[in-house]
Subunit: 557 residues, 2 copies
């Protein structure tokens, strides 16, 4: 009897949320899972960042009992939202072989070092099939805002898919080759079940500008700058950094990198020769103020206005070597990620107050070319590949819907476009795709202190703290568990101190009344705490209409 | 010994002059011409049109003694500047087999009928090689402003060439398939010696709009039009005509075609099912004014304001059935060809004076999408095909130079781009191209009365007539060749009559003085004429500073 094959696709991130890209392809033979191929494993930037979460990583619970089936992890390009969760999950995924392009491999290996992982990453060749169980994968050279970006043609027993995240059709990329149009159209010619396409630019008309436009803007601006030239962008944006470096070389400015991520990434790029800088133009932080201002080019991390970043330190006079002085020009060569606007604009205010001339994309068009294709780029990819089905990835629901309209405008049926949320799945058989069951996922938060040790309960607390404040009650208890002194009540972020005094007096009396009469045995300590929380909640809500976080602690005397 | 092959490319038109496209490819084996392949054979619109020339056709003198080598005539699309000279030259080219797309073939066969040529035209299949001697040709489906437009990959013993005239990359062509990107990029992948590319849009930024945009503009405008809806465009622009027809069907307007070329071309398109119209919506000229105005859609020839065209007759109240009435709307859905602006604008004036609301592309953007790709279209074709050499065709010198800059911006060397004039030639050997000798060509003018019977001498006369006027002197001679009465001098367009009287009196005296004394024998009649011309030229130039055309005739009495 002949085998019957099925394929399942599951996004564990990257849909709806834009970032935290991770995609699972499963090959079933006679309804038994045989091979898993994973594409990308990046971090996400959650809306909860104001609650102290640094980033989120994909939830791989679903994969934990299937690690023996995972044939490989393929990585499309070196941006953090496609790579940076790898070290967190690598061992839990069973340390699968990783295949990716040159710069991406260097970035991953560098992160591995910090985590003490010693495995090497496989650098792929283009125009070559790699076999992973019943899968074959073929990396295709594409253009984005980072060198060595790729798309992947995934060949499976039920048909081929085209995994096409983050791209624009840049005909004049500053470094590296233009898109490999022959391989892309050939993937279409060979027949495609499904195109998984970047959808982030589906609201923008026209074609996205080439990265090359930014280089000439850097040159023009540097020519006119009498003070220090300060450029900030994502530290993974090696193309843009290199364009700034080349302008600096032209104008004989010494180049100084500020910020840990910026120094690390540029070191990596230099090591594989993606960022050549003459020795005499490499500068250090502590010599910046000794050089003539017009002989300095600073390339600085922190383009999103992150607190504590190198740029934020500059703006807040917290860098002990480098000061902003009038005549300096700051180029912000990246757009704020949705949600970061406030931070970026307040950074611009602070820099301006210190005399810098700040140029950002609101006031000048050609400082930042999006890395993501606009409508015409996306339409070209559809025409090149001509698939039966579509899955827009890397966009919000809004972008997915616009993408569906685009596909419709090219004559494709709306139900050929699957709008997926995280954990949704699609089953593919020969010539057919249908929606599958939902895989449950939860958010895994990472902050400075650890991974996953803050769960949704912690965030709920932080949320309450941020909006309602906290009341702490301390109960001094004797050995017999009775109150031996007046309870002490303190608060932060709850009410004004003056109002509080009276409120807390009354609250203290309520606790005393509750805990005194019958006395409390040690074994009931928890009950005493619980009762106290409930009493205080009720009382404070009645008096103030608020529900502060209430923390009751006992001190045994 | 192995054969050595060489290839020569000669444009007999289509370069510098934009129109009159005709290209010759020659295959030499051991320096002996073996095979000729011709691409296109169209008419041109000369700057001399104001002197009574209707159009020009290519000069095929060079080919006349080589007809036994001509293997085929390939035609890229159905526009007049690529097809309409074929019937004039077909027999002189030795009646070679013609290969082209479906609609183009029908257009050519229709023209053949008028000339009594009975040969059939071969309709090609795409994705198939056709052999012509040592040449192979492969037609590639492309998009332009007419259906069934093609590019041709020409395979020769020294390498492949990509013949890529008139195109834009239309991802949503209203009829027919989008460009065959796989075949285009595959031509590049197979290796290309030379790309011959449309260059007309090389001054325009961005991508050219899709033809589809025009269809929705027609609908929107028709919805708002209370009177007759009158659309004019090139009669070969079947896509645009079909979009207008489809809007008319939607609004239940009866469709009437005005003008001979419009009726003929739409008949041809209907016959091959490129223009389906329900029987009940086909109308005739004489019923237009009997129908409610908002139930009529006229599609009219004469978009260039040509004198005597259907639209010009409408504007000048010379159509005995159809009148313009207030509330009518005229849509001019084509841009004036350079040189025709005056005619088009005076047509707009006349139509407006009669109460029509005239919409043209100066006042509304989306009435006419150019058929020619802009810079980004042209850059995409370069990236798709990645040739060693370039020959921009179908553009003026200005467009050729801009095209060279485009190629440079993509990293190609300026000397890889050949800027050719008519008759210039390029030699190709394996991996190398060099400029060849110049083939002399002259202009062959066609007017209402014949082909080639007006040469450059006639045009020089017309030019003089139009700027200096004419003087006619009649010499009454006796049998002995002597003047038997006073010479008679008349003029047109030379000087005012009053001034003339005195001038001609004196001129008469001069002729008498010259011809009387010695008498003139009949055998010297020509000398008498010549002497008289010279005398008058000298005299008139001295007196008036002008050099009218001087015509001297003798009458024997």
């Amino acid at each position: 009897m002949e085998n019957t094959y099925k394929l399942r696709f599951i996004p564990l991130g990257g849909v709806v949320g834009v970032t935290k890209n991770m995609y699972v392809y499963e090959n079933y033979v006679n309804d038994v899972l045989k091979d898993i191929l994973i594409v990308d494993c990046g971090i996400g930037f959650p809306m909860e960042k104001e609650l102290g979460v640094d980033f989120v990583i994909p939830d791989i619970t679903y994969l934990k009992d299937k690690t023996d089936k995972i044939r490989a992890l393929l990585v499309t390009h070196g941006h953090e939202d496609h790579t940076s969760a790898i070290p967190y999950h690598y061992k839990d995924l069973g340390s699968p072989p990783i295949y990716t392009s040159n710069l991406t491999a260097s970035f991953i290996e560098n992160k591995f070092k910090e985590f003490g992982i010693t495995e090497k990453v496989n650098r792929v060749e283009y125009r070559k099939d790699y076999e992973f169980g019943d899968f074959k994968a073929r990396f295709i050279n594409i253009t984005h805002s980072i060198p060595d970006a790729t798309h992947i043609q995934i060949k499976t027993p039920v048909g081929n898919l085209y995994h096409g995240p983050d791209f624009k059709l840049d005909l004049t990329p500053p470094y590296g080759a233009p898109p490999d149009f022959y391989e892309i159209t050939k993937a279409g010619h060979d027949g495609l079940l499904c195109l998984l396409s970047d959808a982030l630019g589906s609201e923008r008309d026209g074609l996205t500008l080439s990265e090359a436009i930014v280089g000439s803007t850097f040159e023009d601006t540097m020519r006119k700058t009498k003070g220090k030239f300060i450029m900030t962008t994502f530290s993974s944006n090696i193309s843009r950094i290199r364009q700034c470096v080349e302008a600096a070389i032209k104008f004989n400015r010494k180049i100084v990198f500020l910020g840990r991520s910026m120094r690390q990434n540029t070191e990596i790029a230099k090591a594989i020769n993606y960022l050549p800088i003459p020795f005499n133009l490499v500068g250090k932080e502590d010599e910046v103020m000794k050089l003539p201002a017009n002989k300095v080019c600073l390339i600085v991390a922190g383009s999103q206005g992150q607190y504590g970043s190198a740029l934020s330190k500059l703006a807040n006079k917290m860098n002990k070597f480098v000061k902003i002085t009038p005549g300096d020009r700051v180029i912000i060569s990246s757009d704020p990620i949705p949600g970061n606007e406030t931070e970026v604009y307040s950074l611009i205010e602070e820099l301006t107050m210190q005399g810098a001339d700040v140029i950002y994309s609101d006031i000048q068009d050609q400082l930042h070319a999006s890395g993501h294709g606009s409508r015409e780029d996306l339409k070209f990819l559809i025409r090149f590949t001509n698939p039966a089905y579509f899955i827009p990835i890397g966009g919000t629901i809004r972008h997915q819907q616009e993408y569906r309209k685009l596909a419709e405008s090219l004559g494709h049926k709306p139900d050929s476009v699957f709008l997926l949320r995280e954990g949704d799945s699609v089953w593919f058989t020969k010539n057919k795709a249908t929606r599958g069951e939902v895989i449950e996922t939860k958010s895994i938060y990472v902050d400075a202190y650890g991974i996953g040790d803050i769960g949704s309960a912690v965030l709920r607390d932080r949320k309450t703290l941020s909006s309602e404040g906290i009341v702490v009650a301390v109960l001094p208890l004797g050995a017999n568990g009775r109150l031996v002194a007046r309870p002490k009540i303190m608060s932060k972020g709850f009410v004004f101190e003056k109002v509080g005094q009276e409120l807390f007096e009354e609250a203290t009396r309520i606790i005393e009344k509750k805990l005194k009469p019958q006395g409390t045995e040690l074994s009931d300590m928890n009950k005493a705490r619980g009762d106290t929380v409930r009493e205080l909640e009720t009382y404070f809500f009645k008096e103030t209409g608020r529900k502060p976080l209430i923390l009751v602690e006992t001190i045994q005397i």
